[in-house]
């Protein structure tokens, strides 16, 4: 009988139940969408912030200071400390390898130009193809780490082209001064030999780089007879904003308790990643570029907090929306409930019937809403970040609990109110 009654209500009150289901669909989709977006926004924004360039620099231990403090020419390096190019793929073997987004080596030198002047030439990877021992394939290089450079003439050097080995990119100010154009052959004399290279691209970096030449690493190594050597590596890594533990660890990891050490080591703090890089690459000293690393932390924190609060508001909105409608529609049925009471139905069974009806409706609406909400999340992910939002499983129980709670909370006061009615009053139109 109960089943028949419920089925009857669901069938005959289709329109009203559809309205409730529809609202629950919307509320659930809102909650699902927002929660999914909220939990993924950190990763997404983190990716976006990679446009600021590297957040870690790796230099040879002990050597870095001298070249910086003494204003000595690059050609007459006082220090013979270098990192080895062959060690670079090891970056992708550290614990947080997956978080290493991009990296590129640098080797600087002064090149003499035929007109008697000197120019700084920087050897690097542009889009260097790497096949890692793990089987992973990736392209690393500055093409992905200098997103703010405008290539005003020609193109980014493409290392997969055979001509790339003898091509260079030139800063716009230098090109202007020397009158170089795309395709021009320029002669570069290094400490070891003289080479000719083709100008493949002219870039506007808006900084000192505009007076420099960027060349493939091999070219600069050959020019200065430093085969396999690099000065410095820039690494772009996805990191977790620093907290107190990370700050303590950054000073001296060995001072941590073993448990703290474990936590720190297994969290993608920039200091932990630096530490792991030093473990992986011999004779390396990795340091966070504070300008990038710290700002990333600030912005990530703020964005996540912002999304959290917006999500909270939407959840409250969705909750109130659903419970409101449920209340309204239960009240609307005062006549029917009065009738049920008049024919002798007990309060408990009336409550039960109404609750089951509404929960069945909520279940249907909730399932539909979950998928719709996931659609919303993808819509936002695709249109804002151009990538999918990861489906978080923990959203399901949260949304389920929320909808159940909200539906019950919405129906209880209304049911209580309706039960207080005297059936005669209701049926006589007094209500």
């Amino acid at each position: 009988m109960l089943f028949k009654m419920i089925r009857g209500v669901l069938y005959h009150q289709r329109a009203k139940m559809l309205l409730i289901a529809f609202t629950i669909v919307l509320g659930t989709s809102l909650a699902t969408g927002m929660l999914n977006v909220m939990w993924d926004v950190g990763d997404k924004v983190n990716q976006e912030l990679k446009t600021y360039g590297a957040n870690i620099t790796v230099k040879p231990k002990d050597a870095s200071l001298l070249t910086d403090i003494y204003d000595v020419g690059e050609g007459e390096q006082l220090s013979e400390a270098y990192l080895n190019e062959e060690d670079l793929p090891k970056l992708k073997t550290i614990f947080w390898a997956f978080n290493i987004v991009d990296f590129t080596p640098f080797l600087e030198a002064d090149a003499s130009l035929p007109d008697g002047t000197d120019a700084k030439i920087v050897g690097t990877w542009f889009n260097h193809h790497l096949s890692l021992p793990t089987g992973e394939e990736l392209d690393a290089g500055i093409a992905g780490m200098r997103s703010w450079w405008d290539v005003t003439g020609g193109n980014w050097l493409d290392e997969s082209e055979p001509s790339a080995a003898s091509s260079v990119m030139v800063g716009t100010l230098l090109a202007e001064e020397k009158g170089w154009k795309i395709g021009d052959e320029i002669t570069l004399a290094g400490s070891a030999k003289e080479m000719t290279a083709t100008v493949a691209g002219i870039y506007d970096a808006g900084g000192d780089e505009d007076l420099e030449i960027y060349a493939p690493l091999d070219l600069v190594q050959a020019l200065t007879d430093r085969e396999g050597k690099v000065d410095r590596i820039e690494v772009s890594a996805l990191t977790t904003p620093d907290n107190e533990l990370a700050q303590r660890a950054a000073k001296n990891p060995s001072a941590l308790s073993s448990r703290d050490y474990e936590t720190w080591y297994c969290t993608a703090y920039v200091s932990a990643i630096c530490y792991q890089i030093q473990e992986a690459i011999p004779n390396a000293s990795a340091a966070a570029v504070r300008q990038v690393a710290e700002s990333e932390g600030t912005i990530l924190d703020k964005t996540q907090l912002l999304m959290l609060l917006i999500t909270a508001l939407s959840l409250i909105g969705a909750a109130l929306g659903i419970s409101n409608l449920v209340t309204a529609s239960v009240m609307e049925r005062s006549m029917e409930i009065g009738l049920l009471k008049a024919i002798g139905a007990r309060d408990r069974s009336i409550t039960f019937v109404i609750m089951v009806e509404i929960l069945v409706t909520a279940l249907i609406g909730g399932v539909a809403g979950y998928f719709l909400g996931f659609g919303f999340a993808q819509l936002i992910g695709q249109s804002v970040f151009g990538s999918a939002i990861e489906m978080k499983l923990k959203v399901i129980p949260i949304v389920a609990a929320l909808i159940t709670l909200v539906t019950l909370a919405g129906s209880l006061p209304a049911i209580r109110m309706v039960l207080r009615l005297r059936p005669a009053e209701v049926l006589h139109g007094g209500q």
């Binding site: 808006g206 700002s295 309204a328």
Partner: protein, 498 residues
């Protein structure tokens, strides 16, 4: 009683005596309006607030003097006048000079700056210890500190040296107070030498002439005659004698002096010596030293770790000049506006070039754009869903009154008249709910702003009427749907039903 008063009485009665239903409708509208005004306020304010957060990446604009010109702290202040003060987060002047530390046989690039501004333009600077506050205090880069074992509280002595090589004596380059020496051939092709000191404006502050080689009592007077020598004070280079043939020089009082009577050749030699002193004179090597206390060790992860930082006045004292090499500006504005400011700066002072730090502005534009798009989409989706929720609730609340609508029709109410009554009710609910929601929404936005950005949000006056209007429209429209259905139904069926 007029019809209008009855109309109002019915609506008031409906609102007051059907309290629980009306509260539901009102609550629903208020929630919708809260979300509307809250999210839109946040959406409007996000670029500003987030933009301020992006200032943690440091300067996005730099000012450089044009080649061959000077920039000083004062001229910088003038130039900054073209940028709205509220948008300037900070403006740090920098003067880079190489200072020596003889005790360790080292030399470092030393930057003179204003620390209060540095903390704003480079918030990522991490100082172990404290920023210098008093004079003769310095900040030392971590690499220097580690290499040389310098600690907070250490005392270091820094020396400023000019090598005193020839060929530097351009008029414009002569520092105030520096003694310039020059010589020229006088009578009998014997050398006359002159020393002079210029003040800051390039006027001659003091002068002495050695003319002992000239005819005693006649030519030698150019070195001793006070009347002759005193007339140089306040004059500017190049100088000429008033009795020379060149008329245009004679006309310019700033550059013209009178010769000693009867010693024209010696006088001309003295003037030539002074002119030469500036053009080809040798600047004497200078060395000044000062003792500094290290208040903090700077780490940035960048090349700044190899620098020493001191206050601009301290560096001025050592170098005896007030030039500024570059100024870093952190301005809360997007790239387009920044470009505008760059142009404005060049117009205000043609000697200053303003450039954008592309790395920062470009990346900020891209990330901020994404964030804004994110908040925009979220706002749109949330608003849309909320508005539909509001509509369904209104729909349910009005549907309940089908019987009443039937009764009114049976009593002779025209359809329009019924629509008008419900419209009135809907508009009232919408207006009230909108007002409540606008206030709550602003409160919410304020909470978000204070919690997330640590600053209060700016009230958008336009948003109040917009929120109220949108709420009224939504309430009215969502009322009309069920009413339209209800009035379409025959009153007889409604009245007979149930």
């Amino acid at each position: 009683m007029t019809k209008r008063r009855m109309f109002l009485r019915m609506i008031t009665a409906s609102l007051l005596r059907r309290r629980s239903r009306m509260l539901i409708a009102l609550l629903s509208i208020a929630v919708g309006a809260t979300i509307l005004s809250g999210l839109v306020t946040i959406y409007i304010d996000v670029p500003r607030q987030m933009g301020a957060q992006f200032r943690s990446y440091g300067a996005n604009m730099i000012l450089l003097p044009k080649e061959g010109t000077h920039m000083t702290a004062e001229s910088l202040q003038e130039v900054l006048g073209v940028i709205p003060e509220a948008e300037i987060v900070g403006a740090s002047p920098y003067r880079y000079v190489r200072l020596d530390m003889p005790s360790r046989q080292q030399s470092f690039i030393t930057a003179g700056t204003e620390f209060s501004q540095v903390q704003k333009t480079s918030p990522y600077f991490s100082v172990e210890g404290a920023y210098p506050e008093k004079t003769r205090e310095v900040l030392v880069g971590k690499e220097i500190a580690e290499t040389l074992g310098i600690k907070t509280g250490s005392s270091i002595e820094l020396h400023y040296k000019t090598s005193g090589t020839a060929g530097q004596g351009q008029a414009a380059d002569a520092a105030a107070g520096e003694t310039l020496t020059g010589s020229a051939e006088g009578f009998n092709k014997v050398i006359v030498t002159a020393d002079l000191v210029l003040d800051e404006e390039g006027k001659i502050a003091s002068v002495s002439v050695d003319a002992a080689s000239q005819t005693p009592g006649i030519g030698s007077l150019v070195g001793t005659d006070r009347q002759f020598l005193d007339q140089f004070i306040g004059k500017k280079l190049p100088l000429s004698l008033s009795n020379t043939a060149s008329g245009e020089d004679a006309a310019d009082e700033d550059h013209v002096v009178d010769a000693v009577t009867g010693a024209t050749i010696s006088s001309q030699a003295a003037v030539d010596a002074m002119n030469n002193a500036v053009l080809s004179g040798e600047a004497a090597p200078v060395e000044r030293a000062e003792q500094f206390t290290v208040t903090g060790i700077l780490s940035t992860g960048g090349e700044e770790e190899g620098y020493v930082y001191m206050s601009l006045p301290d560096l001025e004292k050592l170098t005896a000049d007030n030039a500024v090499d570059v100024a870093e500006l952190s301005v809360t504005a997007d790239a387009e506006v920044l470009e505008e400011y760059c142009r404005a700066v060049s117009e205000a002072n043609p000697d200053v070039t303003a450039r954008l730090v592309k790395r920062v502005t470009r990346s900020e534009a891209s990330v901020l754009g994404k964030l804004q798009a994110l908040v925009f989409l979220v706002t749109v989706v949330v608003l849309l869903l909320t508005m539909i929720c509001v509509s369904t609730t209104m729909l349910a609340v009005v549907s309940e009154r089908r019987r009443e609508i039937g009764l009114r029709k049976a009593l002779g109410a025209a359809d329009n008249s019924i629509r008008k009554e419900f419209l009135g009710e809907g508009l009232f609910l919408g207006g009230l709910g909108g007002l409540i929601g606008a206030a709550l929404g602003f409160g919410f936005a304020q909470v978000v702003s204070v919690n997330v950005f640590g600053s209060s949000i700016s009230f958008q006056p336009l948003l109040l009427p917009v929120t109220v209007l949108v709420s009224m429209v939504i309430a009215a429209v969502s009322c009309q749907m069920p009413i339209k259905r209800a009035v379409a139904i025959d009153p007889a069926i409604v009245l007979k039903g149930e």
